[in-house]
Structure formats: C-alpha cells, structure tokens
Symmetry: C2
Subunit: 502 residues, 2 copies
C-alpha cells in the first residue's frame, strides 16, 4: 500500500473518532437523560484525547511527509494535493496544542452546555458566568499555543478554525459597510412599521401540525429521510456522522409559527451541503463543508432566499391554509408573505428578520473580542450586551434569557464563530444571484415546486467539492467573483422597498 493509502487509513480512524463524538453530541442535545451529563463529558474527553494523540503522533507526520512527496507528482489541482494541503494545515495546528488542553476544553464545554441550558431556562446568568470565564481562558490558551499571527489578534486564531484565511482586519470593513447600510434601512423601515404586521404568525399553530408541515416541506424540497432525521432540541442544529447520516433538529412554539419551519429549512440547507459532497471524499480531509461561512450560505439560502420568497409561498400558502385552517382564516398570501418578512428589532438572533440579523452578529463579534482581550469581564457582559442592543436596535432585553443567555455557542466553546453567520448571509445572496443567472426559470420553478435544478446547481458548483478548495477560492469558482456585500445589499434594498413601499 502506498504511503498515501496508509495515511488515508490512519486519518479515517481519527475521523471515525470525531464522528463518534458527533453522535454522542447529538444524543446529548436530543435524548440524553439529565443525569447522563457527567459521564458523557468524560466519554467525549477520552474521544478527543485519543483523536488528538493519534493525529499528532510521529507516525502521522512520517506518513504525511511521504504522502506529500507522492502528491507532488500529481497535477496541480489534484485531490491528492488538496488532501495533503489540508492534512498539513490541520497537523501544524494540532501539533502546537497540548493534549491536556484539548481534553480539558472538551470536558468543560460538554458540561458547560448543560449548565447553560439550565441557566437559560432559569434566567440565571450568574450560574453560567464562571463557566464562560473558564471557556474564555481555555480559548486564550489555545490561541497562545497556536500563536497569534504577525499583525493579527487573538481573535484571528479562533476565527481561522472556522473560516480559513479570515481575519478581523478583513471583517471590520465588511461589517462597517453593512452597518452603514443596515442602520439607516432599519430606521427607514421603522418609520413605516405600521405597513407590515407579524401578528398572524403569533396565532395558535398546533405543534404536532407544525411538525407535520415541516416534514412535508422538507420532503418536498428533497431532504431524504433515509439519510437523515428531524428531532427536537433546545437550540436547532445540523450534525452529520457520514454523508448518509445528516441529521437536523428544530424547536416548536405554538405562538410563533416561523420558528420551527424556517429553522428546519435553515438546517436542511446545512444538510444538503454535507449530503452533496463527492462520496469519494468520505472520511478524508476533503470531506465535509469547507468552512462555516460557506455552510451558513447554504442554510440562509434555503431559509431566506427560497423560504421567505413570494414564489415559494405561491405554492405553499394553500398547503399552509389546509394544515392550519383556523389561524390562517382571513389571511391572504400577500399578507402572509409580508408577515414572514416583517422587519422589527427583536431580541432573539435566530428569529431576527433579514435586515436586523447582522446587527445581532456585529454585537457578538465586538463583545467576543472585548471578552477575549479582557477589556470586558464576564460579570459586566450582560450589561454590555444590553447597551449594544440599545445602540444598534434601540431595544433592551427584559431578561438575560432574551439577552446574553440566548445562544448555545459560547457554552460549546464556539467563540469566533458568529461572524461566519454574516459571511454566510452575504454569500447566500451572491450565490442566489449567480444561480438565477444560470437558471432563468428559477422563480417559476419555485412557484411550481421544482427544486432539483437549484439543488443540482448548488451541488455541482459548491457541495461536491467538499473541503478541496479554500473558502475564498471556492466563492470565486462558484460565483465568478470574490465575496462582496453588493448582491446582499441590493437584494435587501429591492425586497424591502417593495414590502414596505419605501
């Protein structure tokens, strides 16, 4: 067997350990009984330790060096070259991190996750604060171990794990552009807020019927239930254990109809990406989505560009009326569509409209930097959160449950993760514009329930490549230009000018 094959076998074992961790994580967030948490944390700790030890062992390095020689003899765009490039990047990083830090981070985050869920349920931020503090310390240690790049900041190290090549210095101007456009747009819409109401969405939507409706729509859009599942979780997520086992979760709220459905469509977008990777890449460094930003572009595309579009509801509104006759009585398609696109500063990020959404991200992006750099203490964080909500959205969360405690990310160690949501949101529009150019019948397809051309376009232009190309290169390849906020801002301008008759 070639060194390449030997390396592949070794990395597949390590991959399988990570997949086992993912199953344990899914279980923890869906079905695990409460008292299972302490042992689960230890189990995840062991899996993380063994995966890390196996990866940084001298054997891996020897095999990789040999595989690099073999790959050098292949064409410049070969899978082999991409394989060793990614393996080298990951190994260089991992080698710098002590196993003890990997294990401690895994165990602490696994426990913090349950602590957060309870703190959130009980609106008890002080119970979570020491855990956040501990996680921040671990993240600073991690960044220090990897090494802060010349001219860079701690945050860049964390960000690079989620979005290769992205830095604070690149994000800042993007966020500035967004702020410059979004804050006035929000203000302008606020002057005409009486023109759209989301009251219809707060009527009584029976939960079992919501679940059935979500399942029907997922199936119609092409989510394959023999390769996935829909379950309930406190915070919706998508996870995958192979290309043929990609699961999503959502949550149901009787008096907030969009939550479950758009949450499901969002996670379905993530799932399509994982399900669409070239099967030959399974269990290799080439498998899986390449970055969180590109992942998020897929979820936002299906959630918003498709799911909140008028053509989509021309087909689905009658189905909705059939599934929920009482709350949709006396409601028109046009009013329903405007309701699901109602722009209104709100507390909960995942339920924010498309215009205010990125302001929620900017808040988190700024706070994470301050927390990491000790410019803000965990104890002062809730007040800082509320101040920023006031500044960007002119509202103040009544409790921490609707404020700093709302997101799962920090408890799971996901610091530096939020900006990828903005990258994804921006990219979703850029991709959809490219898809529309390539598929002239896109709108009429959506109107008539034909989804395979869009799915196939995304699969062949993006999904199938898995992690082969770095994010920026993939964006260029798929859309013909680098990432830019132009399509996104144009989309918002056009859509909300129409909806609010601005």
């Amino acid at each position: 067997m070639s060194s390449f094959q030997n390396l592949k076998t070794r990395l597949a074992d390590i991959h399988n350990l990570h997949m086992a961790s993912a199953v344990l994580g899914w279980d923890q967030h869906t079905y695990m009984p409460a008292q299972g948490a302490p042992a689960r944390s230890k189990q995840l700790g062991t899996l993380a330790k063994l995966a890390h030890e196996m990866f940084v062992a001298p054997e891996t390095l020897t095999l990789l060096a040999a595989a690099e020689s073999e790959a050098a003899a292949t064409p410049g765009d070969s899978d082999e070259r991409a394989f060793v490039r990614i393996a080298r990047r990951n190994l260089d990083k991992s080698t710098k991190v002590p196993t003890s830090l990997v294990v401690e981070t895994t165990e602490v985050c696994s426990l913090a996750d349950g602590i957060w869920a309870q703190a959130r349920a009980e609106n008890n931020y002080p119970a979570f604060a020491p855990w956040l503090d501990r996680i921040l310390k671990l993240k600073r240690q991690y960044a220090a171990a990897i090494g802060i790049p010349a001219g860079g900041v701690t945050y860049d190290v964390l960000l690079d794990d989620y979005e290769e090549g992205m830095t604070v210095a690149t994000l800042n101007p993007l966020f500035e552009t967004l702020k410059q456009h979004l804050i006035p747009l929000v203000a302008k819409i606020a002057q005409h807020k009486d023109r759209v109401s989301d009251e219809p969405l707060t009527r009584d939507f029976d939960e079992p019927a919501q679940e059935q409706f979500s399942r029907t729509v997922l199936q119609e859009l092409g989510y394959d239930f023999t390769r996935g599942r829909l379950d309930r979780a406190v915070h919706p997520f998508c996870t995958n254990f192979s290309q043929n086992d990609v699961r999503i979760t959502t949550r149901f709220e009787k008096n907030w109809m969009p939550g479950a459905l758009f949450g499901s469509l969002h996670e379905m977008g993530h799932a399509f990406y994982e399900m669409g990777v070239d099967p030959a890449y399974e269990a290799t460094p080439l498998g899986g989505g390449v970055s969180l930003g590109i992942h998020e572009s897929q979820s936002r595309l299906w959630e918003n560009l498709v799911g909140r579009s008028l053509p989509f509801w021309e087909r689905h509104f009658p189905m909705l009326q059939k599934a929920f006759p009482t709350p949709t009585r006396s409601l028109t398609l046009e009013n329903f569509w405007r309701a699901i696109n109602c722009v209104s500063p709100s507390f909960i990020r995942v339920e924010a409209d498309e215009v205010t959404y990125n302001l929620h991200i900017i808040l988190r992006f700024e706070m994470e930097q301050e927390l990491l750099e000790n410019r803000l203490s965990v104890n002062d964080a809730p007040a800082a959160w509320n101040d920023r909500m006031k500044k960007y959205l002119a509202i103040t969360p009544p409790t921490d449950r609707e404020g700093i405690l709302q997101d799962v990310h920090w408890s799971g160690g996901g610091i530096g993760y939020f900006p990828t949501y903005t990258l994804g949101t921006v990219l979703a529009s850029q991709l959809f514009a490219a898809a529309r150019r390539a598929l002239p019948s896109l709108d009429s397809d959506l109107r008539t329930g034909i989804y395979s051309p869009l799915r196939e376009w995304l699969r062949t232009r993006l999904h199938q490549f898995g992690s082969k190309f770095p994010p920026q290169q993939l964006i260029q390849k798929a859309t013909g230009k680098p990432l830019s906020p132009d399509d996104y801002l144009a989309y918002l301008q056009q859509k909300f000018t129409a909806i609010y008759a601005l």
Copy 2:
C-alpha cells in the same frame, strides 16, 4: 500516582471507548436513518480496534503487573484484588485475539444487524444466511484464538464470555432436569387448555395508551427517568453508558397487550441492576453487571415474579381498566391474571409463557452447538429449527419470521448467549424465594405499591457488588446456596397447579 491509579485511568479511557460504542449501538437500534448503516459499521470498527489495541498494549500489562503487586498487600476480599483479578482475566483473553479479528467481527455484526432486521421484516432467511455463516466462522476463529479448554468444546469459550465459569458440561444436566419437568407439565396443561384463555390480551389496546401505561408503571416501580429513557426498537433491549444513563427500549403491538408492558418491566429489571452498582466502581472492571445470567435473573424477576403475580395486579388491574376501558370491560382481575399466565406453545420466545420459555432456549442451545461444530449448515438451519419446535412444543412456525429469524442475537454476534436466559430464569425464582424469606411483608407490599424493600434487598444483596464476585460466588452470597432449579420448579408447579386447577 500509584500504578493502580495509572491502570485505573488507562482502563477508564478504554471503558469510555466501549461506552461510546454503546451509544452508537443504541442509536443504530432506535433512531439511525437506514442509509447510515455502512459508515456506522466503520465507526464501530474503529472504536473496537482502538479499545482492543489500547488494552493489549504492553503499557497495560506493565501497569497491571505493578497493580497486582499493590493489590497483593490488601485484604483477601478487597476491591483492589477483585479489580486486578478481572483485569487479568480480560487481558489474558484479549491478548490472544488479533485486532483484525476484533475489527472484522465488529464491522460484520454491525452490518448483519441491519441485514437481519430487513430479512426478518421481509421473511427472507436466504438474505441473512450468508451473514450468519460469516459470523459463525468468526466465532470459530475467536474460540480457536482463545483456546478450547481441555475436555471442553468450542461453545464453552463463547459461553465463558457471557457467564464466567459456565460450561456445556454444567448446563447439560440442568437442561435435562428442566426438560424432564417441563415437557410433562406442558402436556398436562395442554389437556386443560380450555381453562385459561389469553383472548382478552388480543383485543384493541391503543398504542399511545400502552406507552403511557408502561411509563406510569415504570415510574411507580422506581425507574428514574432522569437516569434513563424508554424508546422503541425492533427488538427490546437495555443498554447503559454510565450508571446514570441506563436506557431501555420496547415495542408496541395493538393486539398483544403483554408485549410492551412486560417487555418494559423486563428491561427495567436489567436497568435496576446497572443503576444499583456501587458508584465507586464506575468506569472500572468492577462496574456493571457480572454476567448475563445474573442480569437476566433481574429482568425475569420483575417481569414474571412481580409483574405476572396476583398481588401486583390487585393493585394495577383497576389502573389498567381506567387506561383501557373498552378492552377490559367485562374482565375480572382473576381472569386477567390467568390470561397473562396462559400457557400455550407459541412461536416467539420473548412472548413465551413461563413454562414453555426454557424449551425455546434449549432449542437454540442445541442448534448453536450444531452450527458451530458444522454438524448443521446455515442452509438447513430453518428446517432444523422447525423440527425442534415440533419436537418440544408440537407446533411448526408458519414462516421463518416466526421461526429462525425472530431473534436479534445471532446477527449481533451473540452466539452462546441464549443459555444465560435459562440461568437467569432459574435464578430469578431462587432470588425471589430468598427475598420472600427476608421480607415477610413482600406480598402485601406488592399489593399496596411498596417496591422499595424489594428494590433495596436486590441492590444490597446483589446490584451494589457489580462485577466484584464471580457469578457462582455471588449467587451463593445472595441466596445462601448454589444455583439450583428447585425453587424455579417448585414455583412453576405451585403457580400453574393453581391457575389450571391441575
């Protein structure tokens, strides 16, 4: 840290790998989408490989040898001595088995499991036959690697993994005694079969109400849902990922009321055992139930000695009537109790009555030996199954679905496992007789819903010791005598003489 502590840490990591496998197994049998199977098999293969490699690595042996010296300085009945005794026994075995055989067996059994489930659903034994053949070959290889004991047979090696110290030579006379008593008892009852009818159990029992009823009874008996779950599976089972995460599964059939309820009580008995082990033994060789026979005694005790007793139903029959008013109308407590104890040769082992049950086991015990020793081919096995059903129970399964395809065990590699069901059934009576001597108010407690004295007696006499004492020693300790069929045969004689007025 002492060598003992170091060994403990190392074994805890290996234990955590096994627990991760258990989570993956639970998921596979409850929620995994169909197409997840091939990757799951690989993931389980990796976990088995790493656990095996870590265990048989020279480091383990070195640590164990040092720990043995430390343990030798402790009292004769110390936990340390038991710890190293079990570790040594397991290590001696594992060292003889090549990693490749461990991985192949794990992967084949994981796949065979899905193949079996489909073959069973489609009544297609030929689809499963080649997999059974492959598993038998792997089991023969395993037995050869371990080494067949002098004067023993292949089967002994497999049996010893489930029930330390048990052999075919010990089982044969036990099964002969059972046959001598059970076959005439079945025949005698058959002459009076008109005296008891299980027709009431085949009426329409609404499935959601069955589930609710099972949950209520489980809770009342002391199953703690913060430390466990009840889910659905093709074949009911109990599995545990720690002492505080012990899950059970069952299945629901509208026109067979006993299936779900007694299945749940059965698995609850297994769960009580795992939940009751001394917490200090968690993640050590002392943790977990010591053998499958003793495990089965716990499930059969709650399922039959408690669940099918008249005192239990004096309390629960009114609750049953309330939960299922229609099918229980015009039914008396006495007739219901007789119905759930109706003796009638039947096809499905897990639904067999207490008298015919062991004849199902004897059939499997005999066939497994013939298959292992190549005296019977997998192709001839369905006919051999049906011949024996005719011989022992005077009935012939209409299809393989009700015959050779009914059990999950063989597809999962569980060959040599079935006899432990008989050991457990016999021991359940012996333990219950001992409990009755110790708890004079046992019957009135069951009549009034007081279960903690029995639970506590089992916990303190049996559960808490985990795997510390070998099975035969534990039986002696808990009941004051070695395993004997006397209590079981006396129980059957008395109970069914009364029910059938023999």
